[in-house]
Amino acid sequence: MMGEQKNSQLNKIQAPQAQLELMRISLQRGSKIKAQEIIFWVLALTTPLLLPSHAMMISEIAITALFALSLDLVLGYSGIVSLGHAAFFGSGVYSAALFAKYFLIDPTLGLLVCATVAGLLGFICSFTVLRGSDLTRLMVTLGVALIMLELANQMDWLTGGSDGLQGVLMGPVLGQFNFDLQGRTAAWYSLVVALVVFCFVRMLVNSSWGYTLRVIRDNRLRAMAIGVPVSKILISVYTFAACVAGLAGGLLAQTTGFASLDVFGFDRSADLMLMLVIGGVGWLYGGIAGAIIFKILQSELSAVTPQYWMFWIGLLLIVLVSVGREKIKGWFTREYLVSLLTASTNKSGGAR
């Protein structure tokens, strides 16, 4: 009897500690770094070595993935639909190109500038997405991108108008690594920036602040009723996502040395949303997977059928949506992504 009592007392003292530990493990499941992730990023960072002839393509994929990450924060995590994300991307492109052309050719400083410019634009635009329905948000975001497009078109004394902004020369990255013609430096530069931003975003979405985004997405009314400052959080996430999109744009301008009006185009916003749908919204690798799949398909298919490649993208979308997102998500969460990468690596390795 005495022993039993003692035992139950011990349990009472120990159980909460064990319970807290269990809870902590559950809560941190998402933020634990997994082996697949390390493999993925190591593979990604070695691709410029493995596939030197595709270096520019790799750089473009990294940039697009970063851009998709930005939309995922807004759409997937916070539930704000946007058909005009190119506004921030484009403003990043032009501010990076103009900064390099007229002020300094240092890429790192250029990135700071384009993130700041895009962030400012995002901050201003964030007030337009706080209220209204999804439909009004689609229209407003689309409108902002169109305004930016026409501004860039009109101000040809600054932007070069429809001819684009050419002859942007970039200095070496960190004063060390010159951009080469093959694009290897560009690929690593884009990959490293994407990785750094990705790690930061990864930390964000697993923090209390990141969970607040999901809470707002799931139920805005209740979010308010538990004391979440909904508007403040949405303004901050929209501004931050715009910074990330601006960074992606800046990378594009810096690695290609060119800025043209199509960076503001509707296609760019719409393609981005397609990528997120393909990869899956609301998880960080969704945008990356979508960008990789979309870009590879685009390049492979347009080589086969230059005019009709969108047909296959359309078909893929219909299949994806019919099969169901959950099931498709399952394919991508596992080693599928890695095997996809290794498969394409082997293929071109064999070709060589």
Partner: protein, 261 residues
């Protein structure tokens, strides 16, 4: 039931008016909730109970009138700031975060309470203080065994419990319970009623409910709302024996209550 009720008013609505177009949804309502009270707000459908709750919590702005919480004017305060001051509600229809688990949900709410809601530089769930409070809430609302189940996949009764757990996690001084047992199947009902009865005595509660058994078991003060205006207020005995109330209200809901059951 004995609850410590003193004369201190914690929540007070003064001459509250809300008009939608030409319709007066709330007509000059005066309502005082005393500290520690178990106050029930009853009234037939369309009496303006939900509008009143929305006015008190700040979802709607009153056309005129004044709302005081703990002696301070909160009429102009936005909803989330009223929550911070201790005015918390539950919803008649569950308002949950479907993609999160109860553990995640309560961690978010408690983090918010502990001023860590906007912390972005560290993973959620590191602080022992927060985890302890979450564990306590999970235990109190019997959600520990489903703490890792996605909310959308839980049974209705459990979701109802989570609905209340979220509200209590906000450390309310005044809790507005909007039909807490609405739609709960009989099997899960007792558990819910027990949880309602076991709510901390120092939390003042305004209960909106159609279920007369619950109201008369629970409340020590009642206000009857009809057509947006206060018909009468008193102890449960006074209300039960009020011929006016019987005429406009009780007969009607008893029928309703039976059809619901």
């Amino acid at each position: 039931m004995n609850f410590a009720v003193n004369d201190k008013t914690v929540l007070s609505a003064q001459a509250l008016v809300k008009t939608f177009g030409g319709i007066q949804a709330t007509q000059n309502v005066n309502l005082d909730i005393k500290a520690g009270a178990r106050h029930a707000l009853i009234g037939p459908n369309g009496a303006g109970k939900t509008t009143l709750i929305n006015l008190l919590t700040g979802v709607l702005n009153p056309t005129s009138g004044r709302i005081e919480l703990l002696g301070e004017d909160i009429s102009e305060l936005s909803p989330h700031l009223r929550v911070k001051r201790g005015l918390v509600r539950t919803f008649q229809i569950n308002q949950l975060f479907d993609s999160l688990t109860p553990l995640e949900t309560l961690s978010v709410v408690v983090s918010q309470q502990f001023g860590e809601g906007s912390v972005w530089y560290k993973t959620m769930g590191l602080s022992n203080q927060i985890l302890e409070r979450v564990a306590q809430l999970l235990e109190q609302f019997r959600l520990t065994d489903v703490m890792n189940t996605q909310t959308s996949k839980m049974s209705y009764g459990r979701r109802r419990l989570l609905e209340m757990a979220i509200a209590l996690a906000c450390q309310p001084k005044v809790l507005l319970l909007d039909e807490p047992v609405a739609g709960v199947p009989t099997g899960e009902r007792d558990e819910l009623l027990a949880t309602v009865a076991a709510l901390p005595a120092d939390v003042s509660i305004l209960l909106i409910e159609h279920d007369m058994d619950l109201v008369f078991n629970f409340a020590n003060r009642m206000t009857v709302l009809v057509n947006g205006a206060v018909l009468t207020e008193g102890t449960p005995e006074q209300i039960a024996n009020d011929p006016q109330v019987k005429a406009v209200y009780l007969g009607q809901t008893q029928i309703e209550g039976h059809t619901h059951a």
